[in-house]
Every structure is written in structure tokens, then in C-alpha cells.
Symmetry: C2
Subunit: 200 residues, 2 copies
DNA sequence: ATTTAGTTTAACCATTTGGTTAATAATTTC
DNA sequence: GAAATTATTAACCAAATGGTTAAACTAAAT
């Protein structure tokens, strides 16, 4: 049959259940069922629920964060980077729509989880972006903006519509398909909005 | 002593616990302890955990949503409304920082909860805002923008920094005080950013 | 072929948890 | 002020839940 190992089946099942129901809402039995194995085998590979969750969470965190900040290390212009990030990240989140709420929610409840895995790497990127913003402003290509607001605005407009999707769908009276079209439009709309705000 | 009734004490305690730990993470015993009453009294006033939660959730939902959309029914300009909303809503969220994650998370897991309490009221506001945006665009005060993106951008930039606060604090290397100063700055920064993007 | 190490399961277990009951205390009604 | 209604509690209970154990099965090592 498939040569997918039991440990992998567990990890995949656990990811699905934890992402949908959170640490507290998830049941070890449900994970076992979904993985098609016995509950005892969960504890054989991952000692406890906490440890299984940690394993899933860290994997998700590492699929979530670096993707954002990598983009800013190429040698493109701010405008190009903004377009690239919006395009890639919205596509990524369309495949993982529960991810932001899962990761950010867990970080809000246990902020130290961030400290453990991702250290100072993140903070450096702000400086990198800040320097580029300053340089392009001096060249007269864009107006000046503080990097901490630039980043916040960019990420907010990209990520928040995924977290607030039920609310937005209701307000806009979109069904799921229409909403995904709407998110696709935002791949152009958000960069356009940002670059308009940065016009000199 | 205080003439605060047991039912109120329960509601308050339940709010705190549910907001912090969610429906699944909350324990009836902890709520009872925090309210300083017996666990059986919880079931005396609210029949079940589900019902107590529902009561808390609906109260929070109604403190969360209308505040947003009321602003748009005055006779002020878009610019004035954007400033007003940012100012009021950031101040409100500073007092209830866990609220967005709580409400939006529960809506993501059980979208029908929105259907129950807040009906068609919401969707109408989009049209109202859309008409004003169009009118001011025709007057040449702002450039044209689709209301569904205008609203999304505005709300995202206001609300998301509360949901992502631990991440942002880490990235920006702010402690809690510095982060609250940062959020205060956003009361001016976000409207300025939006109006810059809307310049003709 | 036998041993050895690794994998998987069924049956159990202790604790936690939401919820109930029956009795007691406080308050209101008449 | 007695009766009746409402509020509050201590003690319990059944179900669910994370976790364990000892046995059985599999596959590699010798």
C-alpha cells in the first residue's frame, strides 16, 4: 500500500484536528481515529498531547513566519516586494485558511512559545526594510514611512481577512467561492492601496 | 457589602475566563472560584456551560460589532469618520485586547453564531459607505475605491495589531508599554495612511 | 530458526469535568 | 409571623479523557 509511516499519519491527523479545534478542543481519540491507528500509538511516538501539539505548532509556525520575511531580503524594489508578498502570501493562506488564527491565538495565550523557536532573526528584518524604505524615500520614489507601520499595515491587510472571514463574508454577503475571488482581487488591490499611500 | 448580584459576578468571572481560555479551555470550577460562589450556582442561573458561554459571547459580540458600523451613519466626511473610528476603536480594544481573537475565533469555528444575533443590519452599512465613497469621489475629494476593500483595509489595520500583538512585540522588540504607545500612534498613522492612499 | 528490537493493539486506570440532587439558608409574600 | 418562593451549598455521579500496561504481532539481526 502507501509507504506512509504511522508517525506521519499521526502528524497529519493531529495537524488537521489541532488547527480546527485548538489544543483544548482536540481529542486524542479523534486524532487516532483520523490517523487510522490506536490511541496508544499516539503516546508511543509522542509522549503526551502537549508534546504532540508542540510538534504540530512549531511546524506550522515555521511554515507561517519565515515566508513573510524572506521576501524582504531580495534586491527588488519595495513596490516589487509588496506585490510579491501579497501574491504569494494570499495564495498560501488560501490553502491554509485556519493557520493565522491557530498560530496567533496560541501565541497570544503562550507568547513564550515564540521565544523558544524563533529568536532574534525576526527583529533584524525590520531594520532591513527600514533602511530600504529610507533609501527609496531619499531617492524620491516613495514618501517616508516608519517601518513598524509599513509592515503592520501590509501584514494586517493581507492576513486579517482570513481571520475575519466569516464576518466579512456576512457583511459582504459573499459565499465561499465569491469570498475566495475577493481574496484573489486583494492580491492586486492591497499592493495598489499601499503604493498609493506611499506616493510622493 | 456590594449589592452586586451573584448572577452578575458569574457573568463577569465567566467573561474573564472564556476570553482568556476559550470555550474548551475554560473550566466551570475556575469560573465558580473566580466568582466566589459554588459551582452548582452556575447551573442554577445558566443551565449549562454552553449556555453560559453563549450568553458571554453574544454580549461581547454586541460590544464589538455595532461600535464599528455606527460611526458610518453620521453626516461627517469619510476623512472625519476614518479618524473617529480609528481613535475610538483602538481605545476600545486597548481595554479589551483579547476580544477580537475571542469573537473572530468563535465565529470561525461556528459561523452560524453570527447569523443568530446580528442579521442583515451589517450588510446594509457597506452600501451606505459605498455611496458616500462614490459621492466624495465624484466631488473629487478622494479617488474611487470599492467599499469592500476600503472597509477591509481600515478594519484590518486597526484590529489585526491586537490579534498579532505577541508577534509584533517580538518583531519590533517592544515591551507592553512601548507597544501600547505604538498602538496610540496608530490612531493617527492609520487614518493618515488611508487618506494618503485615497488622494486624487 | 531463534533471538532481539521495534511496532501496534485491546483492555484498563485515575483524574477531571460538566452536571445533578437534596438539604439548608435567605428573602419575599400574605 | 407562617408559608412559600428564591438563592446557595455540600456531596455525589456518570461520562469523557489523557495516559498506561502487558501482551501480540512484525521485521530485522545473528
Amino acid at each position: 500500500m502507501t509507504d506512509i509511516t504511522a508517525e506521519e499519519k499521526i502528524k497529519k491527523a493531529a495537524s488537521e484536528v489541532f488547527l480546527l479545534k485548538g489544543l483544548d478542543g482536540a481529542r486524542m481519540q479523534e486524532i487516532a481515529d483520523k490517523a487510522g491507528i490506536n490511541k496508544a500509538l499516539l503516546h508511543y511516538y509522542y509522549r503526551s498531547k502537549e508534546q504532540l501539539f508542540k510538534s504540530v505548532f512549531e511546524e506550522k509556525l515555521l511554515s507561517f513566519l519565515p515566508k513573510i520575511f524572506q521576501v524582504f531580503h531580495s534586491d527588488q524594489t519595495i513596490e516589487e516586494k509588496v506585490h510579491l508578498l501579497a501574491e504569494r502570501y494570499i495564495d498560501f493562506l488560501k490553502l491554509n485558511p485556519e493557520l493565522p488564527h491557530f498560530v496567533l491565538g496560541e501565541l497570544q495565550r503562550r507568547p513564550e512559545r515564540l521565544f523558544e523557536k524563533i529568536d532574534a532573526k525576526l527583529s533584524m528584518n525590520v531594520d532591513v526594510i527600514g533602511m530600504q524604505l529610507k533609501k527609496e524615500a531619499q531617492q524620491g520614489r516613495i514618501r517616508e514611512i516608519a517601518p513598524q507601520h509599513f509592515i503592520a499595515n501590509l501584514l494586517s491587510m493581507i492576513v486579517f481577512p482570513f481571520i475575519a472571514s466569516p464576518l466579512f463574508m456576512k457583511v459582504l454577503q459573499y459565499d465561499k467561492d465569491a469570498y475566495y475571488d475577493y481574496l484573489d482581487h486583494r492580491k492586486k488591490e492591497v499592493p495598489a492601496f499601499i503604493m498609493a499611500a506611499l506616493r510622493v
